[in-house]
């Protein structure tokens, strides 16, 4: 139980929210626009999903797609201000989920967006959180844990779905070849000349997916390395078949100590400031006493704070 609520700094939730709500704006305006054009499709093509049957959601119209799209943008901008985080956060959730619903209720469901729904639903639960609030919070810990679990579930359940639909022979099928033929890039075309690469990629992929939950039992250092590994994997997938699971890439940020990265970035950008420096006349970094100055990369007093983060 306590693992589920392991406290993390509220600042981390504030930063993840920024990433999530900025992504919402970019997503509805530039990345995932097929739902928008469904406003112009004839209702004859509408195939309601279970959610739509349950909530009696109508077929798309131009007015509805404009409302859900610009509603997503407006509420995301309000949520980015940090005021009324619950109301604005859940308003973004409703608008964005509805916009996605419209995109998927015409016969094709993308399989990379289910996990982002969880992020939009749980992040407002935490309530007020600012980027300078370093208090540890159990509610923040829960929200990040829920996002982490869902992000990793994406991999594990994708592996499971491959076994369900493709069967164990999936690893020896021509599925990746099909993907490259249908929407390959220059890089993907090169792989076609060495078909064993695509074949072996399937073995590696399914193995990694089914083992992905191990990320929760390894050390923090290895956890971050594994997240780095997944980012590299997604970059390669994009290079080969020009598909990226964008919302999922944002979800993976929930594993990282974002507030520490922000501190480091700000320290690097502004250089040493009098407030952060130890009371010494020596210019920082100029010392030759490496043993003593190596830890000065982290401001004194912050070190304990950095340690006290989610394991």
């Amino acid at each position: 139980m306590s693992w589920l609520f392991a406290p993390v700094p509220l600042a981390r939730v504030a930063l993840l929210r920024r990433a999530v709500y900025l992504f919402v704006i970019v997503d509805v305006l530039f990345l995932h626009t097929s739902g928008y054009y469904h406003g112009w499709a004839d209702p004859a093509w509408y195939q309601p999903l279970e959610m739509g049957r349950l909530l009696h959601l109508p077929a798309a119209t131009v007015l509805l797609v404009e409302l859900t799209r610009w509603g997503s943008v407006l509420f995301a901008v309000l949520a980015l201000t940090g005021r009324f985080p619950r109301i604005t956060g859940w308003a973004v959730a409703i608008a964005w989920i509805w916009f996605q619903y419209i995109a998927f209720a015409y016969g094709k469901v993308d399989h990379d967006r289910g996990d982002f729904v969880v992020a939009l639903l749980v992040l407002p639960l935490v309530g007020a959180a600012t980027v300078s609030d370093r208090r540890l919070s159990e509610a923040a810990g829960f929200a990040l844990r829920a996002v982490q679990l869902t992000a990793i579930a994406t991999y594990f359940l994708s592996g499971w779905a491959k076994l369900r639909y493709g069967g164990p022979e999936w690893v020896n099928s021509a599925t990746m070849l099909r993907a490259v033929v249908r929407r390959g890039s220059w890089f993907g075309e090169q792989l076609l000349h060495v078909p064993w690469t695509l074949h072996w990629f399937q073995w590696v992929l399914l193995t990694l997916e089914l083992l992905s939950p191990l990320i929760f039992v390894v050390s923090e250092r290895w956890r971050r390395r594994m997240i780095g590994g997944w980012y590299v994997f997604h970059a390669m997938t994009y290079a080969a078949i020009t598909i990226a699971f964008w919302p999922h890439l944002v979800m993976l940020l929930a594993f990282l100590p974002l507030e520490q990265y922000r501190d480091r970035f700000r320290a690097w950008r502004s250089g040493p400031t009098p407030k952060d420096e130890p009371p010494t006349d020596e210019p920082q970094g100029a010392g030759v006493d490496l043993g003593g100055t190596a830890q000065a990369a982290v401001p004194p007093g912050s070190r304990l704070r950095f340690r006290a983060t989610q394991r």
């Binding site: 589920l4 609520f5 406290p7 626009t33 928008y36 054009y37 469904h38 406003g39 112009w40 499709a41 004839d42 004859a44 093509w45 195939q47 999903l49 959610m51 989920i97 619903y101 998927f104 016969g107 094709k108 469901v109 399989h111 990379d112 289910g114 729904v117 600012t130 300078s132 609030d133 370093r134 208090r135 540890l136 919070s137 159990e138 509610a139 829960f142 829920a146 679990l149 869902t150 579930a153 359940l157 994708s158 779905a161 491959k162 369900r164 639909y165 493709g166 999936w170 099928s173 021509a174 599925t175 070849l177 099909r178 033929v181 249908r182 076609l192 695509l198 502004s270 704070r305 006290a308």
Partner: protein, 159 residues
């Protein structure tokens, strides 16, 4: 630089027991829905449906199908390849591909593509006829053979 005062980590904001129980129950509901979606669900369960991107097996010596549309325009009676994407007809290729039975049973539905096209791109000439063509890339042992088979499936002509 920071507009807000720095708040330090010397306190932990705890959750009352009832809130913990409620959140745990919420998570269990989500886990159940996601697991059920993958085990027995379908795409229509979104967002809980199975994550089946690239989950289907493609036979190494089978074929890879894809669909395209060709149109006749008011100013050009020959069949021309037309873009089959959301900004042109309001739908994408996969959405049309999934409706082959419906289109062959009721070719009139292709007329809605022409209609959507004239609403989305009013500056372009209207489409007076639309046909759906399936192309099949033949594979042998995991490699494309270079052979492509084309089959027109269904056709609609403006009345």
């Amino acid at each position: 630089m920071a507009a807000e005062p720095e708040v330090h980590a010397d306190e932990v904001v705890r959750l009352p027991g009832r809130a913990r129980a409620g959140l745990t129950a919420l998570l269990l509901v989500l886990v159940t829905l996601f697991l059920a979606g993958t085990a027995v669900g379908e795409d229509s369960w979104w967002p809980f449906g199975p994550w089946r991107m690239f989950a289907n097996s493609t036979a190494p010596s089978g074929s890879i199908y894809s669909l395209r549309i060709e149109v006749q325009r008011a100013d050009d009676p020959t069949w021309q390849l037309a873009p089959l994407n959301p900004s042109s007809v309001g739908l994408n290729r996969a959405e049309v591909e999934g409706r082959i039975p419906q289109m062959t049973a009721n070719p009139k539905i292709l007329g809605t593509l022409a209609h959507s096209h004239s609403r989305l791109r009013p500056d372009e000439p209207d489409w007076t006829a639309v046909r759906v063509v399936r192309s099949e890339v033949l594979l042998n042992d995991g490699t494309p053979t270079g052979k492509v088979k084309e089959t027109p499936l269904v056709e609609w002509v403006a009345p």
